[in-house]
Amino acid sequence: MYNFDFVKPATVDEAVKALADDEAQALGGGQTLIPTLKQRLASPSKLVSLTGIAEMKGVSKQGDAVVIGGGTTHRTVAEEAASAYPGLADLASRIGDPAVRNRGTIGGSLANNDPSACYPAAALGSGATIVTNSREIAADDYFQGMFTTALEEGEIITEVRFPIPQKSAYAKIAQPASRFPLVAVFVAQYGDGVRVAVTGASNNGVFRWSEAEAALSGNFAADALDGLTVASDDMIGDLHGTAAYRSHLVGVMAKRAVAAAS
C-alpha cells in the first residue's frame, strides 16, 4: 500500500472534521478497503478509522425497531440482535468467515454497497433507515446502484434503524470462490406488506422484487411465487454463473427464504 496518515477519532464530530480533508477516507472494519489498499488500487492521503467511536457501536431495541451503531461488527449483530430480529442476526452470522465478522461493520458494508454484499439486502428488505452524521436516509433512497449510495463525501453512517418484521429470513447461495452471495434474497413480512430484496444478482446492485412483494403480501407462502420470474437482462453474468442462472436463482432463493421465515 501507499503511505497515508492515520487518525482514530473518539467522536463522530472529530471524525467528520478529519474527513473534511481532501483525499481523506473513512475506514470501518477494513474488510474491503484494506485489501484494496494492499493492491495499491486506492491512495487516500489519510485514513480516518471509525472503530474508536463508542457512540457508533452497539445494538439496541428501540420501540419496534432494532438500532445498530454504524461501527458495530457483524459478530456483535449476530449475537445481540438474535432475540429482537433473528432474521437479521442470522444474515450477519453468515457473512464471510469469523475473521471478517469480527472486523467488518454494518456501516462499512452499507457505505461500500458491493453488489454482492449481504447487508444491503437486509437494509432494503427491512425498509431500514440509514442515519448519518447529518440526516436520515430511507433505504429505498439510499441504494443507487453498484458501489453507489446517497452518501455525500465525508458523510458517516452513525446508525441503522431496522423496523422489526413479523417474520423474516435470508436465503443465500454462495459464489464458490469468494463465498459472497452468488444470489441471496432477504424476505421480511410486515403488517403493511412484504418486502423482498435481492443481492448478488443485478448489475445495478441490490433491488426490490416488487412482483414477489405483491404476491407475498397477498399470500405469504413459497408457492405464491410460482410462475414469477425476474428478467435476466440486467443480471450479472460471470465465471460463476450466467445471467439466466442468476435470474433463476432469484426465484429459488426467494421461495427458500419464505419457507424459512420465522
Binding site: 447461495i173 469468494s178 460463476h240 454463473g241 436463482l249
Partner: protein
C-alpha cells in the same frame, strides 16, 4: 496387530511438531545481513511488442539499489527446458527461448519485464511503478484450436507457428487402430476438457540469492522440490556457475504439488542480482503473483474414442488431445502430455490397440507444467469417462463393463510401451464394493429422493506410474536428466544415523517414514535416525521429489546404502566377536554369532568403527558411512478403484459429496497413516478440480481467476469423510521395498468418480446427460439439467 515402529507402523509425523507450532524454517524465514528486496514489474497485457523501457525515473527513487531489464542479461542463458519431445514425423519439438526478463515481446500476463532491487520491498514497488514501459499490444492467442489456425498471431515470431509438437503414440499402431475402429461393433466418442488449474501451495514461492565476494560462492535459498536439479539447470544452463561454486538450499517447503519442481526466472534473477548488487536479494511472491507466475496445470482438450466388439470387449482406443504449453516451455512441460500421459492410456484394461495423438500448443498464457499426477490424471479422466459413456450407450453396468475388460495377468505389456509388473484390479474393485457399500446405494438414493435431492454414484479405476525410470530409457525418450536417487547413510560413533537423501520432503512425511525403514533393517529405535535433505551442500546429488517417487526410488537408494552399512558393520562385529563373518546375524540392534549366545550391540560396533582400537585396520577402513545411487529398472504401477456419491440440488445445481471411498493398491506400505493422509489430500485436490477450481482467461488473455475471490479452492467443508483402504497389496517386483508410491493417486482417481456421480444423479432425473465439463459448478450443473 499394529506395530509400534518400523515398516508398517503408523508412527506419528515427527516434523509436524515444528510445522504446527510455528517452528519451521521456511525460505521466507531466511533473512540475511544486508539483504535487499526485489519487486518484479510484470506485464499486464498478454501479448505485445516492447518498444522501450525507461528506467531513469525509477533509478533515482529512494532506496533503489539497481533496476534490471533484459539488457542486463545479455550473454546470460535463458530458462532451460528439461525434456525434448520428438514428434510423429521424427522432428524435434519447436523450442522457443525463455528469457529471465521479457526480451522484445511480452507473451503472457505476469511475465516479468523489469526488476527493481531496493532497500525495502515498498521502495522497490514504488520505483517499479515509475518505470515507463512502451508496449504495442498485439492480438493474443488464447484458445488452442484458434492458435493452430494458419492466420493465428504467433506467440514466438522465430518459430514456424504455435505448434510445439504433434506427437503420435504409438505411431506404428495407427493403421491397426484405424482398422479396429472400422470393424468395431460399437464406437463411443467423448469430447472433454481437463480444466486448467493453479496449484496454490499454502506457501508461495520465495527465493533469496546470496554471493560471497571473498570466495566467489553463490547460494540460492528457494522453495523447491528438487534443489539439486535447480543447481544443475541454473548453474549449467542459465548463469554459468559450476556446481562447486553454487549451493542451493530448499529448507522447509510448504507444499509443492509439482509447481515447485521447475526452475523459475526469479531464482536465476536473485542469484544473478546478488552478485551484481554485492548483497543478498530476496523475492517473496504475493498470492497474486503466484496466480500469474507459478506454472499452471492440466489444460487439455481431448476427443477420445473407444471401440468395442459385439461382446463389449474393448478392441481399440484413440485420442486426439490439444495440450496447452502456455507462452514458454516450463522445465518439464513437454513430457506431461506425452510420456506421462500416452503411456498410461491403457489404464486397467486389456485394450489391444491404442493410438494417442497430442498437439502441444503455445498460447499467450502462463506456462503449463506438471501438477499432482501430471498427465496421468488427464489419461485416467478421459479413459474412465469414455467407459462410463460407453456403458450408458450400450445399456450395461459400468462396473461390469470394467471388470470384463480388466487386465488379470501380470506382468502385462501394454500397447503403449510400458509393462505393468503387478496389480490386482479385481481385488481393488471387490474391496471398493465392500467399503463403499455399493449394495446399499439404491436405498440411499431413495432416502435422498425423499428429501428432494438427486443422488448419483460414480465408480472408476485408475492406473498410475510412479518413479519414472530407468535413466537410460528416459534419455531415449527425450529427458535431459537422469531419474535415479541417492542416499548417504552416516552412522555416528554412538550408533545414531543421519541419512542424507536427494528426496526432498515438502509435506510428505519423509522425516518420519524413512527412519521407519532403517529402524526395521537394523532393529533400532526410529528416534536414532535423522533425515537430512534439501541442501546441495550436505546431501549427495539427487533428483528430488515428484511423481510419487520418493519411497520407491529415494527409499530404495537408502535401503541400498543401509545394506552396505550393515555389511561393513558385520565385518566389524565378526572381528569383535572373533567369529566368521558368515556366521554373524543382525537382529534387534545386536550382532550375534549364529547358534551361540555371543553378541555385540549395534552401538559397540559403531563405536569401534570410530575408535578403532580393536579393529581390523588391515582389512577395512575406519568409519561407517556409505552412499548409494539407485536407478530403477521400471516404473511402479499403483492402481485402485474409487467411488463417489453425490447429492445434487435440483433447483440450484449445487453438488455435495456425500460419500467417497478409495481402494488403493500401493504395494507394501511403510506408514499407513501417512499413506491415508496422502490419499486424503489427493482426493481433496481431485474434488477441487472436479467441483471448484478453474483457471480462466478472457479472449484478450486477461486472467479472470487471479485471486481467491474468483479461483475456488476446496475447503474442509466441501469434503466428506473419506473411506480409504490400502489393504490390497501387490508388491512391486523390482525395488527392494516392494513399494509403489501413493502421493498422486487420490488426485488421479477422484475426478472421474465425481463427474460420473453427478452425471448419474442427473440421469436419475431423466436428463439425457452423458458428461459435464469440470468444474461442476452449480451454474454448469443447473444448465445441464435444462
Amino acid at each position: 496387530m499394529p506395530k509400534d515402529g518400523g515398516i508398517g507402523a503408523s508412527s506419528k509425523r515427527r516434523e509436524d511438531i515444528r510445522f504446527l507450532t510455528g517452528a519451521g524454517n521456511y525460505t521466507d524465514d531466511i533473512n540475511l545481513r544486508g539483504q535487499a528486496y526485489v519487486f518484479f514489474l510484470r506485464s499486464d497485457i498478454a501479448h505485445g511488442t516492447i518498444n522501450n523501457i525507461d528506467t531513469s525515473a525509477a533509478e533515482g527513487m529512494p532506496g533503489v539499489v539497481k533496476v534490471f531489464t533484459a539488457a542486463d542479461f545479455a550473454g546470460v542463458g535463458g530458462m532451460p527446458c528439461g525434456w525434448q519431445v520428438t514428434d510423429k514425423h521424427g522432428e524435434v519439438m519447436q523450442e522457443p527461448g525463455h528469457p529471465i526478463l521479457a526480451t522484445g515481446k511480452v507473451r503472457h500476463v505476469g511475465e516479468p519485464i523489469a526488476a527493481v532491487v531496493a532497500e525495502t520491498l515498498a521502495q522497490a514497488r514504488d520505483a517499479a511503478e515509475a518505470i515507463d514501459v512502451d508496449i504495442t499490444e498485439l492480438p493474443a492467442v488464447i484458445d488452442m484450436k484458434d492458435a493452430l489456425k494458419a492466420d493465428a498471431p504467433k506467440v514466438h515470431d522465430d518459430l514456424k507457428n504455435n505448434l510445439c509438437y504433434d506427437w503420435g503414440f504409438v505411431e506404428e499402431n495407427k493403421a491397426a487402430v484405424e482398422e479396429a475402429f472400422q470393424n468395431a461393433a460399437h464406437v463411443t466418442t467423448l469430447e472433454l476438457r481437463n480444466n486448467r488449474l493453479v496449484a496454490n501451495p499454502m506457501e508461495p514461492r520465495v527465493a533469496v540469492g546470496d554471493f560471497a565476494r571473498g570466495t566467489g560462492d553463490h547460494t540460492l535459498y528457494t522453495t523447491s522440490q528438487n534443489p539439486h536439479v535447480i543447481r544443475l539447470l541454473m548453474g549449467a544452463f542459465v548463469l554459468g556457475i559450476p556446481e562447486h561454486k553454487l549451493r542451493v538450499v530448499a529448507p522447509d517447503v510448504g507444499g509443492g504439488f509439482g509447481t515447485k519442481i521447475f526452475h523459475y526466472q526469479e531464482e536465476a534473477f536473485v542469484t544473478f542480482a546478488a552478485k551484481a548488487c554485492n548483497r543478498p536479494v530476496k523475492w517473496t511472491s504475493s498470492r497474486t503473483e503466484a496466480f500469474m507466475s507459478d506454472a499452471h496445470g492440466r489444460d487439455h482438450v481431448t476427443t477420445i474414442q473407444l471401440a468395442l466388439d459385439a461382446d463389449n470387449n474393448f478392441t481399440a482406443l484413440r485420442t486426439d488431445t490439444h495440450a496447452n504449453m502456455g507462452a514458454y516451455l516450463s522445465t518439464f512441460a513437454p513430457s506431461v502430455p506425452t510420456w506421462l500421459h500416452g503411456t498410461l492410456m491403457a489404464g486397467n484394461y486389456k485394450t489391444p490397440l491404442i493410438y494417442v495423438n497430442v498437439k502441444a500448443v503455445f498460447t499467450n498464457t502462463v506456462p503449463v507444467d506438471a501438477y499432482r499426477g501430471a498427465g496421468r490424471p488427464e489419461a485416467t479422466f478421459q479413459l474412465e469417462r469414455v467407459i462410463d459413456k460407453a456403458a450408458i450407450e450400450l445399456g450395461v453396468d459400468a462396473i461390469e463393463l470394467r471388470r470384463q475388460n480388466f487386465i488379470t495377468e501380470f506382468p502385462y505389456a501394454t500397447p503403449v510401451a510400458v509393462e505393468y509388473d503387478t496389480g490386482d484390479y479385481v481385488a481393488t474393485m471387490d474391496k471398493l464394493t465392500e467399503i463403499a457399500d455399493l449394495a446399499g446405494f439404491e436405498a440411499r438414493r431413495k432416502e435422498s429422493e425423499a428429501r428432494g435431492k438427486l443422488r448419483g454414484l460414480g465408480v472408476n479405476c485408475y492406473i498410475e506410474a510412479c518413479g519414472i525410470a530407468p535413466s537410460n530409457l528416459v534419455g531415449q525418450l527425450g529427458a535431459r536428466a537422469g531419474l535415479y536417487e541417492s542416499a548417504t547413510v552416516r552412522v555416528n560413533a554412538t550408533g545414531g544415523l543421519v541419512v542424507m537423501t536427494g528426496s526432498h520432503s515438502h509435506g510428505q512425511g519423509h522425516e518420519t517414514a524413512f527412519p521407519q525403514v532403517i529402524a526395521e533393517m537394523i532393529g533400532i529405535d526410529e528416534s536414532m535416525i535423522e533425515i537430512v535433505h534439501g541442501d546441495t551442500a550436505n546431501t549427495p546429488m539427487g533428483m528430488g521429489t515428484y511423481g510419487s517417487r520418493s519411497i520407491a526410488v529415494g527409499g530404495s537408494a537408502m535401503v541400498r546404502a543401509t545394506e552396505k552399512i550393515i555389511a561393513k558393520a558385520k565385518k566389524i562385529a565378526s572381528h569383535l566377536l572373533e567369529a566368521s563373518e558368515s556366521d554373524i546375524e543382525l537382529k534387534d540392534g545386536a550382532f550375534s554369532v549364529a547358534g551361540t549366545d555371543k553378541s555385540v550391540a549395534w552401538g559397540d560396533v559403531t563405536l569401534a568403527a570410530y575408535v578403532p582400537h580393536n579393529y581390523p585396520l588391515e582389512d577395512i577402513e575406519p568409519g561407517l558411512e556409505e552412499t548409494a545411487f539407485y536407478d530403477p529398472s521400471n516404473f511402479t504401477y499403483p492402481s485402485g478403484a474409487y467411488a463417489c456419491e453425490v447429492e445434487v440440488d435440483r433447483d440450484t445445481g449445487q453438488v455435495t459429496i456425500e460419500r467417497f471411498s478409495a481402494a488403493d493398491d500401493f504395494g507394501n506400505i511403510i506408514n499407513p497413516m501417512i499413506v491415508s493422509g496422502q490419499v486424503h489430500g489427493g482426493i481433496a485436490q481431485g474434488i477441487g478440480q472436479a467441483l471448484l477450481e478453474n483457471c480462466a482467461y478472457d479472449e484478450n488473455g486477461q486472467l479472470l481467476s487471479a485471486s481467491y475471490m474468483d479461483y475456488a479452492m476446496p475447503r474442509a467443508y466441501d469434503m466428506p469423510f473419506f473411506s480409504v483402504d490400502h489393504s490390497c497389496q501387490t508388491p512391486c517386483t523390482h525395488n527392494p521395498l516392494g513399494v509403489k508410491g501413493c502421493g498422486e493417486a487420490g488426485a488421479i482417481g477422484s475426478p472421474p468418480a465425481v463427474v460420473g456421480a453427478v452425471v448419474d444423479a442427473l440421469r436419475s432425473a431423466g436428463k439425457d446427460v452423458t458428461h459435464v465439463n469440470m468444474p461442476l459448478s452449480p451454474s454448469r450443473v443447473w444448465a445441464a439439467m435444462q
